[in-house]
Amino acid sequence: MTSSASQTRPTTQEVDGFDARLVERKRTGAIWHSVFVAATLIGIIALMALLYTVIVQSFGLAAVENKTDPATLAVNGVPLEALDKEELVEILQAGISAGVMRRYESEQPFAERTRENVYALVLERIVQPKVVGSWSLTDSLFRRSAIEAEVAQEHPQAKLVFRSWLRPTFLTQPQASVPELAGVRTAILGSLWTILITLLIAFPIGVGAAIYLEEYAGDSWLTRAIQTNITNLAGVPSIIYGMLGLTIFVRMLEPLTGGALFGAVDQTTANGRTILSAGLTLALLILPLLIINSQEAIRAVPRSLRQASYGLGATQWQTIWHHVLPSALPGILTGNILAISRAIGETAPLVVIGASTFIVIDPNGPFAKFTTLPIQIYQWTARPQAEFRNIAAAAIVVLLVMLLSLNAAAVLLRNRYSRW
């Protein structure tokens, strides 16, 4: 070793057979470090871009043109918004044909309808507000004067308003054919009903199967085959579960899933495309995931705990019920809620089993026709009018809030049960 080499690389000690190369090793580490930071940043940027487009579409200026000015509909000086139900029905009767009126009556008798429902009908059929143009949040903020000039020139009748497409009525109104009036009430209810059924079916079956496979089943070729299949099923594309649901639940089990067997619905219109079919299909879809998650949670229970229990003369069931399940519960719950979050966002299988996209009546039970939030979003984004993209963006915000609150619930539950 020359003296100059020892000066430039003071840590190198080639004398004893080592070449520390500390600078190079640290440089390699630094390169990888920056690669990982970059990967994280790309992910964050993608997420921010998604949120940006959704938010920008959900709010912004809109030019609204009413076919009938609501001011002309005022009765004895009382404005339209303040009229009671009977007066609204009269306005409706005066404005639309008797045939359309009968159709509404047969969908749901006016006597049973709420004031809000009739008011929505009046808006939809009589006032007929029409959004003739809408602009994104960024345009609305930075090009306001240009937009005002454009509206004044092209739509002299229209009124330019700043519109939050995500507004209270958007959550409380059912689906409608005009974006101005459409809401996600029926879609939210449909999603909640479907998830409830999915949960009721998938949770007990999934946890039960996980307990059997982890605690009771021996190590035979059969259990290994079942295990492999469950793992593979977790990776099957969801549309295939849709085909399965269509064949089995919608077609083969139609008397059951359509509710005709129970006499719960009108026999003539009953078919298998119901919430029950959707719930069953989604339950099948998340079942493998749920079994695997629960199995992992059960497997993570330390062996020493089981031994302690058996050592006291506990039976296998007492050991499982008193020690294994309570210890595994936080993990099981977390896994379940993550699986449920996946089910809430599923669209493809529900399209296949025939979720309706235009539902104006609240689903009222497992045998109801339904739509769900992702289906509604999908259908709105496919429409040509720009305003539907606005309400689709607003619906995406609603869906994201629903998913985030579920995940928050998962974290809360886990923290609650891991502390005892």
Partner: protein, 267 residues
Amino acid sequence: MVGEVCFVNNKSTNEFAIEARGLNVFYGSFRAVKDITLTVRRNQITAFIGPSGCGKSTLLRAFNRMNELIPTAHAAGEVLYHGQNIYAPGVDPVEVRRRIGMVFQKPNPFPKTIYENVAWGAAINGYRGNLADLVEQSLRQAALWDEVKDKLRQSALALSGGQQQRLCIARAIAVKPDIILMDEPASALDPIATLKIEELMRELAQNYTIIIVTHNMQQAARASDFTAFLLMDEDRAGTLIEYGPTRQIFTRPKDQRTEDYITGRFG
């Protein structure tokens, strides 16, 4: 022998608590313990010593059928408890394990309160007496009562390692066993906690038969009445080399291999 088997308690007439006859334990096709025959005396402390892997823990677990929790394990030969072979068909391992309790190497209290830890075993075994009294009595016997009497409703995991191990002993006592098997009960503890456990074993030996596996030869010499020395044979199966009163094993061993081991020449 079919159906329920009862273990008749006749302590006065029986000098032996439990007896192994030609006992072999297998893991799959591997024989871990080979042809063990030994009798364990009532109300005495018997220590199993030997180098790592000699099968002493496996032998200990064979006395309450704990090995059966490992799917591939099975036993051949007899273990006689009150004259009844616990491996006979019709004998329920659950019943065996209540009579022959166990304390493990690492303290493993349930993640529950101190009270629940002691009471649970009795409760699931259908104890008809007053649970609170039983808990107090068991904790007193385990020399833990004074330390925990004010925090019975607190988590058992908040106790120190030595306290946790004594809680595990209290938990084992609470189901009123005959025999307590201890698998290196002090190996995870500091010397002071170890000493407490040894003193406690001496106390408990008045009412219970204790079998202890230990790596620590000083512990066996200090705390046990009888000592069994095990060693792997050429097939790696554990065999009993020598068994006798502890004093004799440690002062005048009959077998050269025992002498080599206890004098620290190997192992």
